[in-house]
Amino acid sequence: MQQVPCPWCGKRAEVEFRYAGDAGVKRPERMADDKTWAQYLHARKNAKGPAKELWIHTAGCGRWFVLSRDTLTHEVTGSEPMA
C-alpha cells in the first residue's frame, strides 16, 4: 500500500485518499472550439514514468492536491497544494 504525503496532514496510507486524474488540466473558455473542449474532456497523458496527479485526502482533510509520482515504480517524490 502506497504512502501518500498530504501537504496538510503528512504521510498517510493510500486508503485515505482518492485519485482524481491528471494534474494541470485547464478548463477552456466557454467558447472553445469542439476539438479543444474534447481534448479537455477526454485526452489524458497516461504517463508511464514521472507524472503529476491530483489526489484527494477524502478520509482526512478533504483537500485536493498535486502529487508527483512515478506511475511505473510508484515512487512518490513530493506533493503540493493545487495551484
Binding site: 466557454r30 469542439d34 479537455y40 474532456l41 478533504g62 483537500r63 515504480t73 515512487e75 512518490v76 493545487m82
Partner: protein
C-alpha cells in the same frame, strides 16, 4: 526392516506430552513439538496423499513451506483447513486429518489405476482431446477428478483480525542472517519486527551444525532470541510474510492467533527497511521414479532426524551434487543407519577432507555416480545407479543444490539474475528499502552471511557474530534428464521431464507458455522445488542458456492464504454498511416492508396487503400521507461565495433564488450529462441547502468540493454534509395542510406567505424545524426536517393527526404519473438536460457552468437524440421496464429507445410508462412497436406528465 521409528532420545519434542490424532480414519499418537509431518513419519506412515493427475502414492518430501505432497484436510474443533501443509502445521491433540486427491484413503485409492494410463494422458492432453463437441461437455467429470482440498459449505465462517504496524526494520526469516540483522538493528535502538514461519527461531540452525560466537547454533539462536525480546523487538512466530507491496508494506499471515476462530491474523507492516532473510530451498535431483514415498530432500531428512528424532530406516541412500548433503549423510550414519552416499561429482572435485570424514564414519561414498531410478511402488525398496548397480534402501535423501528464496524481492519489482557459477538465481537490481541477505542473496558461507546481515542492518563491523566453520560453496548440478523414463520435475502437478520435452517440441518453450501448457509451477506450492529444474530442462532441450529464459512472475501470496483471512472482519454489513433511517424502529412497528434503495434501508410499503401500493397511491391523491424522506441529501453551502458556487455547479441558475424560496435544478457532468436533480433551498443570503437524491449525496459533496477547491476562495464558501443530522418527514396530499398546522411549528402556513416552492424555519417540540413546500407526488406537500433524534416523534405526531404511511414504491408510481424522473433510471449516460425538456438555461445562460460547452457540440444538437417521453401502452398490463422501442428500416429492426419506468396507475385506470425515445415527442402520436424478450407490445408516445399537467393540485 524396522521402518521409520522415533528414537529414544534427542530432538526438540516433549516426550512427556502425548497427543492423539487421526489420519485417514486411523488413530495415531505422537508428541508435543512435532509437526504433522514428523508425527506421521514417526508413526511410519509412508503414503500421505495421492498425486494430482496419476494418483500415484506420495510421501513427505520436505520439511517446509515448499512441500508439494503432504497437503492435508485438517479439522480441529471449529477449524477447517482443506489445504493444511503438514510440514509446517504443529501437531495438536484431536486433529482429524484426511489425505486429499484420493478416493478412499491415500493408502487405498480407488483411482490408483489412472497411473496405468499415464502414457495416454501427457501434458496438454485435455486441450487436445476434449474438443468434440466442446470442453464444457467434459468439464464437470474432469473437475471432479481433480482437486486439492475441498471447502466444506457447512463450515462456520470465521473472521481474522487485521493488524496494522509500522516499524523501522522488518526482518523476514530468523535463520542466522535474520537473527544477526535483527540484533544489529535492535542494538541501534530501532523499532524492529522479526517474522518467522515456524514456532521456533533459528531457521537452519535448528537442525544444522554451526559454531557461532563459541556457541552451538541452536543455543546461539535461543540466546539471540532472548536478547531481541529484551530489546522490545516484536517477534511474530508461525507468521509467513506472504507479500511485499508498494512502499514497503509486508503482509504477514500469523497462525495460532487466539483472536480469531480460524487462528489466523493478518499483519500489514510498513517498514522503513525490509530485510529479506528467507534463506534457500533445496533443489531436487532428477531420476526415474523420484516421486516414490521415501524419496525426500536431504535437508528435510536431516531436520526430521535432528529436530524430531525420527530415524528414517536402516538403509539409506544419500544422493548429491554438492557438499551440503554430507552433513545429512553423516548425521543419518550417526543415528545407526547404513548409508550410501552417491555423489555426482568425480572424486577429484570433492573436498578430500569431506570425503575422508564420510568414509571414516563408515559411509560408502560413491563418487562420479548418480541414481538412475528408484525401485518400489508404495515405498522405496532400492535404487539402481547409473552403472546398473542396485542398492537396497528405505530412504533416498537427495540434494541438487539450493535455490535462494527471492519471492518477496520479486514482489517488489526486483529482477533476479542467473548466476551460472553458483547455478542459481540471485538478486539483481537493488530495490530501494529492501535488502536481501544470507542464503537468499546467494551467500553460503555462514561467517560472510553474519557479517553481511550485520552491516546491512547498520551494525558496526566488529559487532557481527563470528563463525569459523568453513562452508564450501554449494554448487548446482548439471541436469541430466533421463529420457524415456518417468522423471518427476513438479510433484504437485504431476509434470515430468517428458512433459516439458513435449511442450518444447510443440513450441511452448517460452517460460510463461511452458508453465501454462504443462501446469508446472502452479498449485499450492507454486513450484518452489521445481521451477529452476524446469528452466534447466528447458535450457538443455533448446540448447540455450538458462539466463535467456528468465523466470515466471512471482506474485503474492508466497503461501496460500484463505479468503476468510483476507476478508477479515470486512464481510456483510461490515464490508458494505447499509444506511438506516432514524425512525426505522417506528416503521417496523408500522409493519413496513424494508428494501435496500441505493444503500439505504427504506420502507417499500406498509402492511402485508397485496394491493398496499395501490392503496397508498389512492390515499396520497385523496387524503394525506406521510413519507420518511430522511435520506434525501441536506448539504449546507455557507459563505459569501455560496451563491456563485451553486450557480457554477448547477445547470439551473441558483444565484437568482430569493431567500426563503426553493428551486428544482439539475446538475451536469462536464460532458453535459445529467448527473443529479434535486431542490436547492435558500435560507439566507449566504446560506443554501442542497437537497439531492439519497444515493447521490456523497457524489454531490465530492462534485461541490472539487469545484470549490478548483475555482473559489476557500475562505468564502464552505460545504457541510448535514444529511445524517436531520430527519425529514414529508406530508403530502389534499389533506396535508391541517395536519401541518396542528404540529405547532410556529410558521405562517397561508399560501400567500408560504407558497409552493418556499422554505421557512420554525420549531417542533422546542427543537429547530425546517419546513419546505416541495412536492414529489404532485400534491400539496410539506417536507419537515427536524434533528434526527426527534424524527420518530414527528412521524408519530403526523400519524396521530391522521396521515397514512406512504412507502417508496407508491411514491415511484405517484411521481411517474407526474412525469418526475429518477436520475439514473429515467436518464442514461447520454441524457442531456434538453432531452428532459429543461432547455431554458441552455439557451439563456451566457455565464460558465459545469458541462456548459458540452451542450453545444454537434452530438448535443442532433435532432434524433433520445428524449424523455410518456408511453401509453395498449391493454391493461404495464409494458416491462427495459422493453425496446423498435423501428423497421429497410427490412431490419432498429432500436430507437427503451422504457425506463412502467407502472399500473390506479388513479388513471391504465398503465403508464416513461421512456427515452429517439426524437421524443417530435415523433408524433403514431403507434410505436415495443419488444421485450420475444414479446411484442404496442404503445403511443405522449407527454411524460400524465396527471394534472397544470399543477393545480400543488395548491389544492
Amino acid at each position: 526392516m524396522t521402518g521409520f521409528v522415533r528414537m529414544e532420545s534427542g530432538g526438540a519434542i516433549d516426550r512427556t506430552q502425548r497427543l492423539r490424532f487421526v489420519f485417514d480414519g486411523a488413530p495415531y499418537e505422537s508428541f508435543a513439538g512435532d509437526t504433522i509431518a514428523s508425527a506421521l513419519l514417526a508413526n511410519n506412515v509412508r503414503i500421505v496423499g495421492r498425486s494430482f493427475k496419476y494418483h500415484r502414492p506420495r510421501g513427505i518430501y520436505t520439511a517446509g513451506a515448499e512441500e508439494p505432497n503432504a497437503i492435508l484436510d485438517l479439522r480441529h474443533g471449529a477449524r477447517h483447513d482443506p489445504n493444511a501443509r503438514a510440514t509446517l502445521e504443529p501437531l495438536a491433540d484431536g486433529l482429524e486429518l484426511r489425505s486429499i486427491h484420493a478416493k478412499g484413503t491415500a493408502a487405498r485409492d480407488r483411482l490408483a489405476f489412472l497411473d496405468r494410463f499415464a502414457r495416454f494422458i501427457p501434458a496438454a492432453f485435455y486441450y487436445k482431446t476434449f474438443m468434440w463437441p466442446n470442453w464444457a461437455a467434459y468439464e464437470h467429470r474432469i473437475r471432479s477428478l481433480a482437486g486439492l482440498g475441498r471447502l466444506d459449505p457447512t463450515a462456520r465462517a470465521t473472521s481474522a483480525a487485521h493488524v496494522h504496524a509500522e516499524v523501522d526494520v522488518c526482518v523476514v526469516g530468523s535463520g542466522p542472517s535474520g537473527l544477526a540483522a535483527a540484533l544489529a538493528a535492535a542494538r541501534l535502538g530501532k523499532r524492529v519486527m522479526l517474522v518467522d514461519e515456524r514456532p521456533e527461531l533459528g531457521g537452519s540452525l535448528l537442525h544444522r551444525e554451526a559454531m557461532i560466537d563459541g556457541e552451538q547454533g541452536a543455543a546461539w539462536a535461543g540466546h539471540v532470541a532472548r536478547t531481541l525480546r529484551d530489546c522490545n523487538v516484536a517477534i511474530l512466530r508461525r507468521s509467513t510474510a506472504v507479500g511485499l507491496y508498494d512502499h514497503n508494506v509486508l503482509a504477514v499471515v500469523q497462525k495460532g492467533a487466539l483472536s480469531s476462530a480460524n487462528g489466523e491474523r493478518i499483519w500489514l507492516v510498513r517498514a522503513g527497511q525490509v530485510v529479506v532473510a528467507t534463506g534457500a530451498i533445496e533443489r531436487p535431483l532428477l531420476f526415474a521414479n523420484n516421486d516414490r514415498p521415501g524419496v525426500m530432500l536431504a535437508d528435510a531428512a536431516l531436520a526430521y532426524l535432528r529436530r524430531y528424532a525420527v530415524r528414517l530406516g536402516e538403509r539409506i541412500v544419500v544422493a548429491t551434487s554438492n557438499d551440503s548433503a554430507y552433513e545429512a549423510a553423516l548425521a543419518l550414519r550417526g543415528a545407526g543407519s547404513d548409508v550410501h552416499l552417491v555423489d555426482s561429482r568425480p572424486e577429484t572435485d570433492i573436498d578430500p577432507a569431506l570425503a575422508a570424514s564420510a568414509r571414516a564414519a563408515g559411509i560408502e561414498l560413491l563418487a562420479a555416480s548418480r541414481i538412475d531410478s528408484v525401485v518400489g511402488h508404495r515405498s522405496v525398496e532400492a535404487v539402481i545407479l547409473g552403472n546398473g548397480k542396485r542398492i537396497s534402501a528405505e530412504l533416498v535423501a537427495h540434494s541438487g543444490g539450493w535455490t535462494p528464496s527471492l519471492h518477496l524481492y520479486c514482489h517488489a519489482k526486483g529482477k533476479p539474475q542467473w548466476d551460472s557459477t553458483a547455478g542459481s538465481y540471485r538478486p539483481g537490481n537493488k530495490v530501494p528499502g529492501i535488502d536481501v541477505v544470507g542464503a537468499a542473496a546467494g551467500l553460503w558461507d555462514l561467517d560472510a552471511m553474519l557479517q553481511q546481515a550485520t552491516a546491512i542492518a547498520g551494525g558496526q563491523q566488529g559487532e557481527a557474530p563470528r563463525c569459523n566453520d568453513k562452508v564450501k560453496q554449494w554448487t548446482a548440478p548439471s541436469i541430466v534428464p533421463s529420457s524415456g523414463k518417468r522423471v518427476w520435475v513438479d510433484l504437485q502437478n504431476d509434470v515430468t521431464v517428458a512433459d516439458i520435452e513435449l511442450a518444447v517440441r510443440e513450441n511452448f518453450s517460452a517460460v510463461e507458455h511452458l508453465k501454462r501448457y504443462t501446469t508446472i509451477g502452479m498449485g499450492t506450492d507454486q513450484g518452489k522445488t521445481s521451477n529452476v529444474n524446469a528452466l534447466a530442462i528447458l535450457a538443455v532441450s533448446t540448447s540455450q542458456e538458462i539466463a535467456k529464459f528468465g523466470t515466471t512472475t512471482f506474485r503474492p501470496p508466497y503461501v496460500p492464504v484463505s479468503m476468510a483471512t483476507v476478508a477479515g472482519a470486512e464481510r456483510g454489513q461490515l464490508q458494505w454498511p447499509i444506511r438506516r433511517l432514524p425512525a426505522e424502529n417506528t416503521h417496523r412497528q408500522e409493519h413496513a416492508y424494508f428494501r435496500d434503495y441505493g444503500g439505504v434501508l427504506r420502507p417499500a410499503w406498509y402492511g402485508a396487503r397485496a394491493d398496499a401500493i395501490a392503496e397508498e397511491c389512492v390515499a396520497a391523491r385523496n387524503d394525506a400521507v406521510v413519507f420518511d424522506a430522511s435520506s434525501l441529501g441536506k448539504i449546507e453551502i455557507v459563505g459569501p461565495a455560496a451563491a456563485a458556487l451553486l450557480d457554477f455547479v448547477y445547470y439551473t441558475p441558483m444565484a437568482s433564488l430569493a431567500v426563503g424560496r426553493a428551486r428544482y435544478g439539475l446538475t451536469l457532468s462536464e460532458a453535459g450529462i445529467v448527473a443529479d436533480d434535486g431542490v436547492v433551498l435558500r435560507l439566507g443570503p449566504s446560506h443554501f441547502v442542497v437537497s439531492c437524491s439519497s444515493s447521490h449525496v456523497a457524489g454531490m459533496v465530492m462534485q461541490l468540493e472539487a469545484w470549490r477547491q478548483d475555482r473559489f476562495d476557500l475562505a468564502r464558501v464552505f460545504i457541510h454534509d448535514a444529511t445524517a443530522h436531520w430527519a425529514t418527514i414529508a406530508i403530502s396530499g389534499p389533506g396535508s395542510k391541517p395536519i401541518v398546522a396542528g404540529l405547532g411549528l410556529g410558521i405562517a402556513l397561508d399560501d400567500a406567505t408560504f407558497p409552493h416552492m418556499s422554505v421557512a424555519e420554525g420549531s417542533f417540540g422546542g427543537r429547530p424545524a425546517r419546513i419546505a413546500r416541495v412536492s414529489f407526488t404532485g400534491e400539496r406537500s410539506y417536507e419537515i426536517s427536524v434533528p434526527a433524534a426527534v424524527g420518530a416523534q414527528l412521524w408519530q405526531s403526523v400519524r396521530d393527526a391522521g396521515a397514512s404511511p406512504l412507502g417508496i414504491e407508491a411514491l415511484g408510481v405517484l411521481r411517474a404519473e407526474k412525469g418526475y424522473i429518477y436520475v439514473g433510471q429515467d436518464t442514461d449516460g447520454e441524457t442531456m438536460p434538453h432531452d428532459l425538456g429543461v432547455a431554458g438555461p441552455r439557451s439563456k445562460r451566457q455565464d460558465a457552468y459545469v458541462g456548459d460547452r458540452s451542450l453545444f457540440t454537434p452530438a448535443a444538437s442532433k435532432a434524433n437524440r433520445k428524449k424523455l417521453v410518456g408511453i401509453l401502452a395498449e391493454g391493461k398490463t404495464p409494458v416491462p421496464t427495459g422493453a425496446h422501442a423498435i423501428e423497421i428500416v429497410a427490412g431490419r429492426k432498429r432500436g430507437v429507445g427503451y422504457v425506463t419506468s412502467s407502472y399500473s396507475s390506479q388513479r388513471l385506470g391504465h398503465p403508464i410508462a416513461l421512456g427515452l425515445i429517439e426524437g421524443g415527442l417530435d415523433r408524433g402520436s403514431e403507434p410505436i412497436d415495443l419488444e421485450h424478450l420475444g414479446h411484442s407490445f404496442k404503445g403511443r408516445i405522449v407527454s411524460p406528465c400524465f396527471f394534472d399537467p397544470k399543477g393545480a393540485r400543488l395548491n389544492a
